[in-house]
């Protein structure tokens, strides 16, 4: 009984990590780009939503209507103007550029929002729960996050496998040069992909902002977990990312049940162990 509760909580926590990681997985998968600013972008989304809520008096969910288009545009322009120029065999430029971006976002937020922690409120839903049996209750909001992660993945799946741009995503990610030979404007494809990734990041950011408080410096923590989820699952495999998130969530939940001190460490150790056994994750993308 006790273990069932632990596993259930681990699963739900996995949903959070998966949601955080999907945007990263997307960027990784299509462009082979290590986005070190990923965590800070999630936090940025939280702040943008916060500002929208403050200024326009909308609810956090409604603020998505502004955050998401804004983030799509941000991703599109960022890729077109900056990141496209860094792609290539050399791993360093994209890494440094996104690292720089991370610093800029963090400190930019510090300058404009101060270091106070913020939170978005969704009211009752946040604390509502569903009782399963006598002593297990699961929160409604964690279920919402888990469902969002799944729906996001399904939507991306539909985008990737059901649309023309999805075909271009896959072709470009397989072989950008050959894709250009097919008349595909790969730079635009990359820009759209990053735009889509930032939309997912926007969703994750707003949901995170409702779930916990956040401040300008809470990005890097999110980044490492997201990375671990992506890498455990295998680069560029979105369902793998879900599995990676759940693996991490379970590892932490089980570790925490053994000893709360061990919770975060357990996640990292499982990550390292998986890397040793399967250096390319569970579902690596086929080499070609």
């Amino acid at each position: 009984m006790d273990w069932i509760a632990t596993l259930l909580q681990g699963l739900l926590l996995g949903g959070v990590y998966a949601l955080f990681a999907i945007g990263l997985s997307l960027v990784f998968g299509v462009m082979r780009l290590v986005n070190i600013a990923h965590g800070d972008m999630i936090v940025l989304a939280g702040f943008v939503s916060f500002a929208v809520v403050e200024v326009l008096g909308l609810g956090p969910i409604l603020s998505l209507a502004i955050v998401l288009p804004l983030f799509f545009a941000f991703g599109y322009v960022l890729q077109l103007a900056v990141l496209n120029r860094t792609l290539g065999d050399d791993l360093l430029p994209p890494m440094i550029v996104t690292f720089g971006l991370a610093i800029v976002i963090q400190n930019g937020l510090l300058q404009s929002f101060a270091a106070d922690s913020r939170k978005l409120s969704l009211g009752e839903v946040e604390t509502a729960s569903i009782a399963l049996g006598t002593d297990i209750a699961v929160g409604v909001y964690p279920l919402i996050i888990f469902a969002t992660a799944i729906v996001t993945i399904l939507a991306l799946q539909a985008l990737f496998y059901g649309t023309k741009i999805g075909r271009e995503f896959r072709a470009t990610s397989d072989d950008p040069e050959a894709a250009r030979l097919m008349g595909i404007n790969t730079k635009r494809v990359f820009a759209v992909a990053t735009g889509v990734a930032l939309v997912v990041i926007g969703i994750a950011g707003v949901l995170m902002a409702i779930r916990t408080t956040f401040d300008p410096l809470s990005g890097p923590v999110r980044l490492l977990f997201a990375f671990e989820a992506v890498i455990i699952g295998g680069l560029g495999n979105i369902w793998g990312t879900l599995l990676g998130g759940v693996t991490l969530g379970l590892a932490q939940a089980i570790g925490g049940a053994i000893d709360p001190q061990f919770q975060v460490m357990a996640g990292h150790l499982v990550f390292l162990a998986i890397l040793i056994v399967r250096p390319r994750g569970f579902f690596p993308k086929v080499a070609h």
Binding site: T6, L13, A128, S129, G139, D215, P260
Partner: protein, 391 residues
């Protein structure tokens, strides 16, 4: 010599602790106005007073660096430091090493004394710390809980950071001595995403009281997850997490009746030795100038400067040794209460009043009001109400 007296001040202006320091701009401005005409030191001379402020960025590396800079570069006459061991401890280490007198506050005195390796036989030579300790806070928390009808099972939320380690060590023995059962799940990591394991432990042991020293984000996570997972307690009494109206507002209705340590309140019956303002006037001035609700550190930080100024006044700012001696001879009434060097449990600490308070939703200009519900460790301070159970 006619140049100014320099007071160094290190505080976490930015970073995660910035909220605690967010009233300090007012504190400093208020003091600078009062000192605009200079300070008449013993011996009749009038000296300008300059307060040189450095930001620790809530980072102990940075705190150490800026303290050294204040000592070596600015050559301050006395140092002040406040808010959290992350800022205070490194500054204290630098001061002790370089022989610079230091007035510090807003972190339990034990972390400054035993936590930095002093013993009753070998105290520090350059630090005067004015704040409460674990004795005061445990008494206050117990006083709060005793006003309720509970099973006396306390769940502890003590993170693995300087505060958490100190509180866990300080609280547990005293609570057990006083007939409470302590459920301590161990030191969790700051910014944990998931408190399920801890919550289940609390549920299993039928915890009715939750206490701890929790970062605001972690409290929010814990408290919402506790509600989701069916943990409801009669008292939630924390240090740090919800000690500020801003965080209470963010948590909204969930903050109602949350109890916490309150070490300064406008109703404190004290006044400033520098400006002459009463606590109530001082808080009013704050609200008027900033448009924000008063926060408790403004009184405490003000009083740190009172002590420093008093020491400089008596030493004449001659050299560090003279100021140190003056500092250890302090006997001053401040806006935080009386500061009498040598009156504390150890030579380096002076105990200041501590009350317990609860947040109550209010119709007034601000969402929440802090109502004092325990004054057991605060001589001369009146209570404003009695404890009510959390939802």
């Amino acid at each position: 010599q006619n140049n100014s007296l320099k007071i160094g001040f290190v505080q976490p202006e930015t970073g995660p602790l910035a909220e605690v320091a967010s009233g300090n701009a007012f504190v400093l401005e208020n003091l600078r106005q009062a000192l605009a005409g200079g300070l008449q030191v013993d011996g009749g001379q009038t000296r300008n007073v300059e307060i040189v402020v450095r930001d620790s960025q809530s980072n102990s590396n940075r705190a150490s660096e800026v303290a050294a800079d204040l000592i070596l570069g600015e050559e301050v006459d006395i140092m002040c430091a406040a808010i959290h061991p992350l800022t205070v401890t490194p500054v204290a280490d630098q001061c002790e090493l370089n022989g610079v007198p230091l007035i510090s506050s807003i972190t339990p005195w034990e972390t400054q004394f035993y936590g930095r390796g002093a013993t009753d036989d070998a105290p520090f030579s350059y630090q005067l710390h004015q704040f409460w300790g674990f004795g005061e806070i445990t008494n206050t928390f117990i006083d709060i809980w005793n006003q309720l009808d509970t099973n006396k099972v306390v769940g502890g939320l003590w993170p693995n950071n300087p505060d958490g380690v100190g509180f866990a060590q300080g609280f547990t023995p005293i609570l057990e001595e006083r007939g409470f059962t302590v459920i301590d799940p161990g030191r969790y990591q700051d910014l944990t995403d998931d408190f399920s394991a801890i919550i289940r432990m609390f549920l299993e042991n039928e915890v009715e009281i939750v206490t701890g020293v929790v970062l605001p984000p972690d409290w929010t996570t814990f408290w919402t997850q506790a509600a989701q997972q069916g943990l409801s307690v009669k008292a939630a009494t924390t240090a740090a997490a919800l000690a500020f109206p801003g965080t209470a507002e963010q948590l909204g209705p969930l903050a109602q009746n949350h109890s916490f340590d309150l070490f300064w309140h406008p109703s404190f019956p004290f006044e400033s030795s520098v400006t002459g303002q009463s606590a109530a006037d001082y808080a009013a001035a704050f609200e008027e100038q900033t448009g924000r609700q008063w926060i408790q550190p403004i009184g405490t930080v003000h009083s740190v400067f009172e002590t420093a100024i008093d020491a400089l006044k008596r030493s004449g700012g001659g050299d560090w040794e003279a100021t140190r001696e003056a500092m250890f001879a302090t006997n001053l009434n401040t806006i935080q209460g009386p500061i009498v060097a040598g009156s504390g449990p150890v030579p380096n600490a002076v105990i200041t009043p501590l009350t317990g308070a609860q947040w109550r939703q209010s119709d007034g200009p601000f969402d929440f009001e802090a109502v004092i519900v325990s004054n057991i460790a605060a001589d001369g301070v009146d209570a404003g109400g009695t404890v009510q159970a959390t939802a």
